[in-house]
């Protein structure tokens, strides 16, 4: 008798939505039964050498490419990229016990790519609105403005104009 595992997935494009529950049952040889919103889908999943997957769900053929970071699974399907945060029951409970569900809190603005900081528009103590331009990074011959992820106050400015930054480098903090 195959074991069923519960997963909870949240579409990161819909921050307000509740996570969706999926039950996954392994049937062997790459075959699975997945129950989602009361309906069970039988499918076959074949992992290809370069990490992509060929999935056949009730006859529908899908070539799936993944982009994974921790629990976040980006799924590229017929040109559509959908990002999910997927956890199992144990981790869901752990999240609930800690601050995992908190939407508030401080936000660190990080460099989305390697480049050069050409402009910092704010200083510590400035009050900013969501979407306000904070920093300009030049990379690949283009200037790119980084906007505030939320309304709040600038509590730290980590970078400075003229600095060369790596991908993911913290630039400033909004609280």
């Amino acid at each position: 008798m195959a074991r069923t595992t519960k997963y909870f997935a949240k579409n990161l494009a819909h921050k307000e939505a509740e996570p969706v529950q999926l039950e996954v049952e392994g049937l062997g040889e790459g075959r699975y039964a997945v129950t989602l919103e009361g309906r069970t889908f039988e499918l076959e999943s074949l992992v290809l050498p370069h990490g992509a997957v060929s999935m056949i769900i009730e006859g529908q053929s899908y070539s799936v490419e993944f982009d994974e970071k921790g629990d976040e699974v980006g799924v590229m399907l017929r040109g559509q990229m959908t990002r999910f945060d997927v956890v199992d029951e144990r981790k869901l409970r752990m999240r609930a016990a800690t601050s995992g569900f908190a939407v508030e809190g401080k936000q660190t603005l990080t460099a989305p790519m390697p480049g050069k900081i050409v402009k910092v528009f704010v200083k510590v103590g400035d009050v900013v609105t969501e979407g306000q331009g904070l920093v300009v990074v030049e990379a690949m011959k283009m200037e790119n403005e980084l906007k505030s992820p939320k309304a709040g106050t600038i509590t730290q400015v980590i970078t400075k104009e003229g600095a060369t930054v790596e991908n993911g480098a913290p630039l400033l903090v909004v609280e």
Binding site: N11, L12, H50, V64, D85, M113, M140, K141
Partner: protein, 508 residues
């Protein structure tokens, strides 16, 4: 003029590959130049010979005339093809080639001077009787001059780099307060792109069409045009999708614009491949915008409908050959090109350099791939983020649109974020399909062009994500079990299999 035997391509990326392909067909030896960041680039590997011309920054490598000429000398190249961008519209470079006894595959320095500096070009065109957009005649000395002129012609205005085209160093300015920032940005971009931060100004036409005419001249005084390209699908004045024929042109208008374009090229004794760009207003008046004195990014669509290899013609003409065709030809069928960028349309088109994990380019009938990527290739963050050009041909425009949709669906490119889906949204947008879209199209329809989730795909993706998590968990358990078995309590195995605790919040 001596026959060319070995061509150095003073460029990188897809255009370097494009030029070398024709050289190889013509039996000419090929020489690549590469920056230290491009040692593993395809063009470095594609050529017969390759020479390093300096560090990653183009100002220290691809833009250094002496380094390029030194590579030509070392390799014994007798001709240089500049591609587009970099030194392609630099008259100093043309003169340096001449002095070194190397054939520059492009127009004479004097033609470049006459057209390359955009304000001078406007003056020349007015003299030749070519209609131009209202604007100023000389680069501004400072931002105050620019402010004064803008108030004189009235907002909105366009700031443009005097030193080159291609959308670099261009900024639309709607009000006086914005001028200073735009001025700074335009100058900085112009400097990186052309090594010249001169900027001039034109009256901004409200959402015109951008239609350009391909021209070709030889050393015997022949100049012809090879029809138009519609390039109104632009973002930040950067062309994204191009097609030919233009869906808004009649046969009469094509002939009229072609005639003016030939007149413009003749006025500067133009030799080689060039493009006269026009703005077309709602009443179908057309104005000279600028001349690009080089091969354009979008030349493949012209090649599709004419059957001409424009690079082969460039080489032929550079050797003193007579143009193989002396009168205009009617386009055959319809061609569309899209530019694939390593960028994320959803985050204001943020460039996304990185490593190509996997790539499978579209194929089959009527599909052309011009790319310079391969699986394992690291797209460097020093250059333009365009990584591939995809073009299609079909007998009719609608068939070409459907073919482009199919080709974009087929394109697999992972490891980087690209604009592939955005491109598909463009070509399937009703306004594009109808054919009457202007340069305001992409900006106006931005939200819609980002695309909506397809619920069926989202559901399948959700299932795929769950299966992926499940397979990962199973693999992890198997690893732990085997580690415990082999090392007792297995402390270190737990460490290896540890995953960072995720969160429902992104970017926190």
């Amino acid at each position: 003029m001596a026959r060319i035997k070995k061509v150095l391509v003073a460029n990188r990326g897809e255009i370097a590959i494009r030029v070398m392909r024709t050289c190889k067909e013509l039996g000419l030896a090929t020489v690549a130049v590469y920056s230290e960041a491009d040692r593993s680039a395809l063009h470095t590997r594609f050529a017969d010979e390759a020479y390093c011309v300096g560090p990653a920054a183009s100002r220290e490598s691809y833009l250094v005339i002496d380094n390029i000429l030194e590579a030509a000398r070392k390799s014994g190249a007798d001709a240089i093809h500049p591609g587009y961008g970099f030194l392609s519209e630099n008259a100093k470079f043309v003169r340096a080639c001449e002095k070194a006894g190397i054939t520059f595959i492009g127009p004479a320095a004097a033609s470049m001077d006459a057209m390359g500096e955009k304000t001078q070009a406007r003056t020349n065109m007015i003299k030749a009787g070519v209609p131009v957009v209202p604007g100023n005649a000389a680069p501004f000395a400072n931002v105050e001059e620019a402010k004064a002129f803008a108030q004189q012609i009235g907002f909105p205005v366009m700031l443009k780099a005097a030193g080159g085209g291609g959308g670099k160093g261009m900024r639309r300015v709607d009000k006086l307060e914005d001028l200073e920032g735009a001025w700074r940005a335009a100058r900085s971009e112009a400097m990186s792109a052309f090594g010249n931060d001169s900027v001039y100004m034109e009256k901004f036409l409200d959402q015109p069409h951008h239609v350009e005419i391909q021209v070709f001249g030889d050393m015997h005084g022949n100049v012809i045009h090879l029809n138009e390209r519609e390039c109104s699908a632009q973002r930040r004045n950067q062309k994204v999708v191009e097609e030919t024929p233009s869906p808004i042109l009649t046969v009469e208008m094509r002939a009229a614009m072609g005639e003016v374009a030939v007149k413009a090229a003749r006025a500067v004794n133009y030799v080689g491949a060039g493009t006269i760009e026009f703005l077309v207003d709602a009443k179908r008046n057309f104005y000279f915008l600028e001349m690009n004195t080089r091969l354009q990014v979008e030349h493949p669509v012209t090649e599709w409908v004419t059957g001409i290899d424009l690079v082969a013609w460039q080489i032929h003409v550079a050797q003193g050959g007579v143009l193989p065709l002396l009168k205009p030809i009617a386009p055959r069928g319809h061609a569309i090109e899209v530019r694939v960028y390593a960028e994320d349309p959803a985050t204001n088109f943020m460039p996304s350099p990185g490593t190509v994990n996997y790539v499978r380019v579209p194929g089959g009938p009527g599909v052309r791939d011009d790319s310079a990527i391969y699986a394992g290739y690291r797209v460097p963050n020093f250059y333009d983020p365009m990584i591939s050009k995809l073009s299609v041909w079909a007998p009719s425009r609608m068939e070409a649109i459907l073919k482009m949709r199919r080709a974009l669906d087929e394109y697999v490119l992972t490891g980087l974020t690209t604009n592939l889906r955005y491109l598909k949204q463009i070509v399937m947008h009703p306004e594009f399909v109808k054919g009457d879209y202007d340069t305001g199209f992409l900006g106006r329809e931005h939200q819609k062009l980002l695309g909506e989730e397809d619920p069926a795909l989202t559901r399948a993706s959700l299932i795929a994500a769950a299966i992926r998590a499940h397979q990962r968990a199973e693999k992890q358990q198997a690893t732990i079990a085997s580690a415990q078995k082999s090392s007792g309590a297995g402390g270190s195995a737990w460490r290896n299999s540890g995953r960072r605790t995720g969160s429902w919040k992104r970017g926190a």
